[in-house]
């Protein structure tokens, strides 16, 4: 019953299985370096050496943003949190448009001598929710969501919600 077609099929399946296992194992082994950023919890638990460059990712803590102007360039102090730990960040320069309290950000830089993170670059991480402005406004008015304190509520509560014109 071993026709050439069946033999080839089993050969392809066996090769595919072995190859997928090899790729899966190597991805699992390299998973820490495939991660684009470290969370504040990881940084607090085991901070990289002062001056060693890494990426810090999390949410801008509500009420932590403080911007000072020195001449033309703004310097911004803010805290990046993952809900369990927070790291203070200092950045000199113009922040991306999406930067705000409650926004996910990735800061590239290194730990400064004072225990705060000195960022050379700040990237805004956009959330996965898409909604018109008036839906966001009415969620806010109803007290169901404030973008300062994290992602929107369960999508089924708003993705077909009707909004009164002019609200």
């Amino acid at each position: 019953m071993r026709t050439p077609k069946k033999r080839r099929l089993y050969l392809v399946l066996a090769c595919g299985l072995c190859f997928s296992a090899a790729v899966g194992l190597s991805l699992a082994a390299f998973s820490t370096s495939l991660t684009y950023f470290l969370s504040p919890r990881q940084v607090v638990a085991k901070a990289p050496a002062v001056g060693q460059s890494f990426r810090l990712g999390g949410v801008v803590e509500a009420g932590s943003v403080l911007t000072t102007l020195a001449g033309e360039t703004p310097t911004t102090h803010f805290a990046v949190t993952d809900g369990r730990a927070a790291v203070n960040v200092t950045y000199t320069g113009v922040l991306p448009d999406l930067f705000r309290e409650g926004q996910g950000v990735v800061a590239i830089g290194s730990m400064g001598p004072g225990g705060s993170f000195v960022a050379d670059e700040v990237l805004a991480k956009h959330g996965a929710a898409y909604m018109p402005k008036d839906v966001e406004q009415s969620l806010k008015q109803a007290g169901k969501w404030d973008p300062k304190f994290g992602p929107p509520p369960d999508a089924s509560s708003w993705n077909t919600m009707t909004v009164k014109a002019g609200s």
């Binding site: 090769c15 495939l34 990712g57 990237l123 956009h126 018109p132 402005k133």
Partner: protein, 256 residues
């Protein structure tokens, strides 16, 4: 071409319709009349989806008009991945069942898929600069899609690299099948690792995190992109079959 001369020996259940579709002449009989319809419907859906998305659908509360890139970016990304899945399937048919039509399809899917992947990469990059603050970052999602693009380009080059076409088909089929492990990596990259790229908005099981008047144009545009991909591949495969017919007819005349 059909090695299966003994009836019932080594025939898988799928063998029947696979052999039916694998006949180039039969393919042309189905494809030629269907092609103008496919082209018209895909063009119509693309235009409706994109005009709706860019002119009528509401702007996003946070990104404003920049979010409208999704009516091109997301369908292109889905089609790029589905196209590679199709490439892997025809490669399996080519390597196991040696269907001549599967070889032609593999040769013709490659450039089209590479084109959709390029659209996905370029549109995402143009969105990334104003939103993220960078055209490109080396996170897992972006890197795995770039690898998909290189797999397509490698396949396009490899399948045409041999004087003996059969060797090219065999080598390229192995590349396409091995590269298919990249597909689950692209899909799950935003869940397995921390990435700058956002997570999934559309989900089949739970509620999609997108307002309904933004979802409709996205789905229409997606359907349009899928049909456009199918139209281009069917047109290219038909042209390749006619090319081969012409070449063998000319050869027959020359040998007489």
């Amino acid at each position: 071409m059909n090695e299966d001369v003994l009836p019932g020996v080594g025939r898988l259940k799928t063998g029947g319709w696979l052999h039916y579709l694998a006949n180039p002449a039969r393919f042309l009989r189905v494809a030629t009349p269907a092609l103008p319809w496919l082209a018209a419907v895909s063009l119509l859906l693309c235009v409706v989806g994109i005009v709706w998305g860019y002119a009528i659908a509401p702007a996003d509360w946070e990104q404003g008009d920049a979010a409208r890139i999704m009516y091109v970016h997301v369908p292109a990304a889905w089609v790029a991945m589905a196209g590679y899945a199709a490439l892997a399937v025809v490669s399996l048919l080519s390597i196991v069942w040696r269907h001549p039509l599967a070889d032609i399809a593999a040769e013709e899917i490659g450039p089209v898929g590479a084109g959709f992947t390029a659209v996905c990469l370029v549109s995402g990059s143009l969105w990334g600069k104003p939103m993220w603050g960078a055209y490109w970052v080396w996170d897992a999602r972006l890197t795995s899609v770039l690898i998909l693009f290189f797999l397509y380009l490698g396949h396009v080059a490899l399948i045409r690299a041999f004087d003996n076409k059969a060797h090219g088909y065999r080598a390229a089929a192995i590349l396409a099948l091995a590269g298919a492990v990249n597909l689950p990596i692209i899909v799950f990259s935003v869940q397995w690792w921390n990435t700058l790229h956002q997570g999934n908005t559309i989900s089949i099981s739970g509620g999609s995190k997108i307002y309904i008047t933004m979802l409709y144009p996205l789905l229409i545009s997606t359907l349009g992109f899928y049909l456009a991909f199918i139209t281009m591949v069917v047109a290219r495969v038909s042209a390749a079959i006619y090319e081969r017919k012409t070449a063998s007819a000319l050869l027959a005349v020359a040998e007489r």
